[in-house]
Amino acid sequence: MTAPPRVGDRGIQTAISSATATASTTRRGPSGSRIASWLIFILAMLYFFLPLVATLEFSLRAKPFGAAYTNTLKDPQFFASLGYSFVVGLITIITSTLIIVPTAYWVRLRLPRLRPIVEFVTLMPFVIPPVILAFGLIRSFSKGFLPLAGSQRGSDVLLVAAYTILSFPYMYRAVDTGLRTIDVRSLTEAGHSLGAGTLRILWSVIFPNLRVAILSGAFLTLAIVIGEFTLALYLARPAFGPYLQHLGQNASYEPAAVSLISFGLTWIAMAFIALLGRTSRGAGGRVEVGGAR
């Protein structure tokens, strides 16, 4: 009686609880709280699914049936903007990977003292809202030594740069967790003794070992970039976010269709991340939160 029951030892637990006076309360407790749990769950699901159902219903109000979707698929702007965001997303992922992987590798292997600084810098995008980053980029790059904001191509560069900055927290976290699960030091020493240079080791040993971690960071980055609106708007880029905003003001049913498609894309990206997290540990299986609000 006096010994506390041990975890996992169900036999002892039930024996004790049925023997003690608190047995009835413990048994009634869970069932009462279970009803409350169901209630909370159902209310939450109503709140979460009602807007989705409403969007679907709204998109189906268009006549003839499904016109909102066929019109969307016939709209060249839809594919152009989605394609633009997709390409920007891919370039962002490549840039971010090429910067973050060597950095995380070097910090882990040779410069552990820099870790707090690097972590701090990668987390700074959380402190700087996208609208402020857009503000700073536009003002500081409109004239002076690098007038990128003045040209179309230059604005593309700024957009990719901004998205790369936004991706750092997720990329760094994913890659750093990935590095923790492999023996970086031994792999590097093995590579050196086989005569490989550091770059070769990074490319043929570290990158392949981090594939899953990089991919999970990449999908999240892609989801963020495709849903992003603020930076694309102020840099005047023909991206998916501004397209949807514009559509929302000028069409009635099509925005509902495109919103659902956008939700579906987020869902696919998250499903991939969840899948990657399941197949390997250290891939950052915890789904992270993006910055497209």
Binding site: E57, L114, G290
Partner: protein, 304 residues
């Protein structure tokens, strides 16, 4: 970028290299990262910082006036609205998210519901911006599904009888909860997972009621986590722009929208004030993130 340097050091005779060279070389490995962040993050933000101390009406002389001008009606109202909306959605999101997370983790619901809610939260916390605003317009807007249902079934007019407008602070708050609540579920889940069964059993064995267990055991342990997560939610909502942009078309002045308007055309009629406003936002966000990390560290003491 690091290619040549890596080649130089590598071949053959590493022992012959002086120590100073080796240090320089390893620093070069992280150089691209620091150059990139300096160019595209620190430089632009530094530009705003410097601009916030310049008096644009007096030949860019040093001034603190931009900061004292933050109290002018237009700016103060935008900050006030932003802070109010962020506080409300952070507190409501934290409480509701905690309830939902607790319900699916320890509430005795089937296991698959937990997996479902966690995955869904990952998606929903990323489902924000324009599509989210549109989805709510289709739900509780003038022609929204819920509005139409309530009218036809209960003969209640959401807009005219109840005075609900999506173009209001309440409207924004209800929409923001859509990403605040799932975010809370995601970030509080590890803390709830960390509540050990032994603690509950021990307190029950000593005759504690569930209320006492919560009051004296669970809540004190969870409190740093809950507070930390609430602060993070505050920042999350404070920096949001796209959702409000679509929802209100600028009719409810909040800080991010005012900054946006300042980017497109100097609506404050003072560039320096715009920069000072941006700095004010960064300071508030920085404070929120700092509090979050401090509280998070505190909560780790108990959990695992």
């Amino acid at each position: 970028m690091t290619a040549q340097t890596a080649e130089i050091v590598e071949p053959g005779t590493p022992s012959a290299r002086p120590a100073r060279r080796a240090f320089n070389w390893s620093f070069l490995g992280v150089l691209p990262f620091f150059v990139f962040t300096a160019l595209f993050m620190l430089f632009p933000i530094g530009f705003l910082v410097i601009g916030s101390f310049k008096d644009s009406n007096a030949g860019d002389a040093f001034t603190l006036k931009n900061y004292s001008d933050l109290t002018t009606t237009q700016v103060a109202r935008a900050f006030g609205n932003s802070i109010e909306i962020s506080l409300v959605t952070a507190i409501a999101g934290a409480i509701l998210g905690l309830l939902l997370a607790y319900a699916v983790i320890l509430g005795g619901l089937p296991k698959f519901l937990r997996t479902f809610v966690m995955t869904f939260s990952g998606v929903a916390s990323n489902f924000a911006g324009i599509p989210l605003a549109l989805a709510f317009i289709f739900t509780v807007g003038n022609l929204g599904l819920l509005t139409v249902w309530l009218k036809s079934i209960f003969h209640v007019d959401l807009v005219n009888d109840l005075g609900f407008k999506i173009l209001s602070k309440l409207g924004i708050e209800i929409v923001y909860l859509y990403f605040q609540l799932p975010l809370m579920v995601l970030i509080i889940a590890p803390a709830i997972d960390g509540l050990r069964k032994e603690w509950r059993e021990a307190s029950e064995n000593m005759g504690a009621t569930p209320a006492q267990y919560w009051r004296y055991v669970a809540l004190p342990i969870l409190l740093p986590s809950i507070l930390g997560c609430s602060v993070l939610l505050f920042g999350n909502s404070f920096g949001a722009q796209a959702t409000a942009y679509q929802l209100t078309s600028g009719q409810v002045p909040i800080a991010t929208l005012l900054i946006g308007a300042q980017i497109s055309g100097d609506v404050l009629h003072n560039p320096g004030l715009g920069y000072a406003m941006a700095m004010g936002m960064v300071v508030i966000m920085g404070f929120a993130i700092l509090m979050y990390s401090i509280l998070q560290r505190r909560s780790e003491r108990w959990l695992r």
